[in-house]
Symmetry: C2
Subunit: 298 residues, 2 copies
Amino acid sequence: MTRVLKTAVVGLGSMGYGMALSCLRAGHQVWGVDINPEAVDRLKAEGGEPGNLPRDLDAVVVVVLNAAQAEAVLFGDEGIVPTLSSGAIVLSCVTVAPEFACRMEARCTDHGVHYLDAPISGGAVKASQGKLTIMASGTATAFDAAAPVLDACAETVFTLGATAGPGSAMKAVNQLLAGVHIATMAEALTFGMTQGIAPDQFLNVISKCAGSSWMLENRAPHVVAGDYSPKSQINIWPKDLGIVLEVASSVGFDAPIARAALSQYTAAVEMGLGAEDDAAVTKVYAENAGVTLPNKQD
Amino acid sequence: MTRVLKTAVVGLGSMGYGMALSCLRAGHQVWGVDINPEAVDRLKAEGGEPGNLPRDLDAVVVVVLNAAQAEAVLFGDEGIVPTLSSGAIVLSCVTVAPEFACRMEARCTDHGVHYLDAPISGGAVKASQGKLTIMASGTATAFDAAAPVLDACAETVFTLGATAGPGSAMKAVNQLLAGVHIATMAEALTFGMTQGIAPDQFLNVISKCAGSSWMLENRAPHVVAGDYSPKSQINIWPKDLGIVLEVASSVGFDAPIARAALSQYTAAVEMGLGAEDDAAVTKVYAENAGVTLPNKQD
């Protein structure tokens, strides 16, 4: 039997909420934190703890949107790290630059708190099933302290290094690929439409061919169904590809394909699609090409 | 028992040779044609027919490099179509523009010869196993006439339309994706190296994550092994992405990600890498980034 941890999950979006559920299912005590009180109440109804965060939390899982939010959660005016006991663990699942992860680790260490650089991959469904892939790096002590949470949330945990940084670096590499693959799905699907290939035929054929990708198989069905209710928002990509290009630029690395993909997401945000599912980047191409995408069957 | 066809396979490169073997294995009589006499002799040694092409060929499978070669094979000075009997079938497996496929079909029809627009996907190994994916379009009569060859060579045959054109259009869509995915693998792998991620670690982790693609899983191992012996040459991509962009341009479709990928292949050719495996596009990024790729262990 695994240790029961007093765990806070900060950020109850589609990923964080799923991870909170997975922690509950594994028998941990879970306090949910979110600016949206409905999400907090929903988690309480499913077994989350009532009331304020206790002073003796064992673990804090941070699943907020970006580095600025993560820094505010950890060290802002009401920052959580100064309230933690020595030996507690912070798992940061946010996509950030490796250098930022190193800084957060150092500041946690100053408070006697362990830090695991633990970006996640797999989507909302796997988050709620406890089957995420986690790209983790940190000290052996941090891994030990985080183990019950990792067991609850992940199918695969990659151990990528003995300090913060390598986990975030691998996540950036993954996001470069994932972001390009979604936009390329959009480019190819609409290109096919100009040649008389319907989106469902595109999906049926290409998913059996060498042109397939994880993202194509996951996102093209949204376009075929005309369903852009957000599983993962367009807004993620200017942020994540921005991190990729910022890290790349800091070492003089040119990433022209990532840059081309970023332009398509930026155009999607400018079209007002930021809060839609990221498969909606297809609408940028459809608009330019004058083709009509499938509509949702209501 | 399937009909035994008298079949010519024109173009005995890695794909054509594999398809010729698959036809032999299925019991057909196969004549190999190639500018390289060694390939022709090798096929004879494996059961190919000796001597010149007979006048009563049932099927001609064209697996040459490009449209110009295909047109020369079919209708050039020693073109094969005028020598065929009425009712024979030409299967064109070459990656060409849809409009070119339509022209070839019309000219074959003038000679009473059926034409199947039949581009292939799957790589040399699947070609030799008779397990290709074929993106085919043509008349019902053309599909009937081609059926024994399709049975011999393909695991999956997609029936994409009743004329030539849609098969080549789907192949162009597939090549857009495949070409971008190889170059993006190269971009992400070398970006990872600048962040301390070794190529084998990249492959192990990313192939389990949402950033994976068919091409990443197939080609990244070549980079990890430092083995650029050509399974599929760099030279394919300026040609195939050139077709994609030419077809796109003809309908006013902008494909910025495909364009960015094409630039990397063009740079690879300019570095003298055209005849290497297409995974060698990674060398363009490595050179620019100043990172050292693995060498082949001899």
